[in-house]
Amino acid sequence: MIKNILAILCGIAFSMSTAHAKPFVFACEPEWEFIAKEIGGDQIRTVSATHGLQNPHFIRVKPSLMSKIKKADLLICSGADLEVGWLPLLLRNGNKSIQAGQIGHLLVSDYVDNIEIPEVLDRSMGDIHPGGNPHIHLDPEIISKTASMVASRLSLIDPENRQIYVKNLDSFESNWRSAMARWKTAGESLAGKRVVVHHKSFSYLLNFLEIETLTSLEDKAGIPPSARHLSEIVTLIEGSSAIAIIRTPFDPKSAGDWVSDKTGIPVVTLPFTVGGSPEATDLYKVYDASIQLLLQ
């Protein structure tokens, strides 16, 4: 009897120690979770700390994130201070393998050239990011670069499935490249056009499509626009030709609506990331939908 129990216990202990747990990817934003899924497929488990309708700059460290970060094998975030309000606290409560300097720690901004790096750092200018614009996922080249970084990180974390990650990376690469060509062609007529943005959330996409940013509704980043600034924008728009006022699903609506009312220029809400609109179910569709919406 005791022997049997011992045998069972041994069996359980053995199976626990040898069970190959799938790598667990903790993405700060849905776009990185999408890339992890493209590369990792069924070989990994993923979670995103934020969803497509959330402004990733302002979330609170909630209990469920505290329990998930403990189990993460790979952390993928935008970096450049986008998550500065919550990631440091999470990391201090995370595990060793996702700390800075480890294979499991990937802040994409550390590896790419962010644009709009401010020359003067002073909070009187609003909530500025010394590391530059952190909304890098709207640059398709950065996505492609991230995919290969994710593949190499996953290969190091889980060498057994390395061939699968490489294969997935290869097919993602070719799909993404052809999609990029498609977007370039689709957005051709947009080049040289001007838009007004709410916050500088779309700078990378606008650069890719060669669209000019006339101005932003936010006078100072992170601080709601003043009435005076908005009326200046109305004058500015009247003197030039902007095709739209663009905003994310989480930007406050009132400012854009007011300017649109005064000028007759449409407000367009772009999905911004995966889950940002019902049709934006993956990152391809985020780009597809954004270009379609801008063309309308």
Binding site: H51, F58, L89, D110, V166
Partner: protein
Amino acid sequence: MLKNLLRCLVAALGLVLLVPAQAQEDVSQIRQELNELRDLYEQRISDLEKKLEAAVETNAVSQSAAATETQGGRSVRNNSFNPSIGIILNGQAKEFSERAAPEMTGFAVGEEGERGTGGLGLDHTEINFSASIDDKFYGSLTYALVEEGGAIVTEVEEAYVKTLPGAEVAGDLQMTFGKALWSLGYLNEQHAHTDDFVDRPLPYQVYLNGSFNDDGIEISKVLDTELYNEIGVGLFRGSDFPFGTPDGQGIGAHSLFWRVGGDAGVNGTWRFGAYKVDGETGGRATEEGAITFIGDTDLTAYDIRYTYAPTGNESSQELTLTAEHFSRSEVGTYESTVTGETFGPSAYDADTSGYYVAAVYKWMPQARIGVRYAKMKNVDLTGDLDNTAVDGQGFNPSQRTVMLDWTNSEYSRIRLQVGEEERSQGNNDQQVILQYIMSFGAHGAHNY
């Protein structure tokens, strides 16, 4: 009919017999195609492998290389500003209908439990330094400059070291040692500048003199469950409220806590906590040193909190509901040297309690409204302590508060609070307070 069936059968049989010959040809053709495909595929895989190896080599192959490579091409900005320094400026204008600060019936309270006087004045000015000390430790120091009786006093609010995941403490434990805002109820762990109201609710004023930040050590563990589940123990000197004047030997007080929390739907969260701290009090001075308690103190607290942001963005709209309950059981003696109200060390054995409930609603990014109700339950004493400061005298203090605040950015906030406090019978103190809280420098993440 039968003939037809037979014909059918023969045809079927013929077909069956014919197929293998055809199939034989197909199979060899398929096999050949397959071989070609495999060759092609193997070539492709080995190409890809080479590509990956090259990528991995430049990225991070060996662990040693990885350590430097994973820091990327840019300088890590957090290190260039080491340590983080944050300053909180906080000032108030207060108007009370009761000129003289009313006493709290049934409780002897400390400095932070007094209502204080009105007029213009600074509240806590906080200075915080924090940084990762190395791969294993994180340190934080928070000073508060407080005006007490016309002089500026420096208080150490926190000076602690916390182990980082890199310390790999046995059993995946986390340790905090030094002086910290320990795990004891929801508000206790928060710095006062993050509070939703100008003043702390009555139970915090009475039982913790604002907050419990004794010298000590806390060890906790986040359990490996789907829900957030944390258990912990603490060992303290026993020198801070609700204790005082430790004998200077061994452990003066211990604590035990359990916290659990999770998501409530996509955009909601909840958490619940149970806490217990008990210890020996060698002499807790209250009422400006006039009343002293000596004996055993046992404090139990429960907190529950729910947050809901309609779109997931707390920064635009959010509702938070918080409730906490405290109960204190004390056995010992109370002594008073208050002029005209002196009483000798008199035996005391009683349980008191207090709770508060608060709701705060942010209806637009910059504006919030909050309501709070707090009530204390004291005990009517007989004998030596009858009709003294610690006797309930049939009256329980209460507090009703409404606040409205405006937040310009995450760094500045201005708040208007009106309240009504009944600390003692017939003392209906009407309060109007205007407060500003501003911060600059590094601004650490706030606890959930």
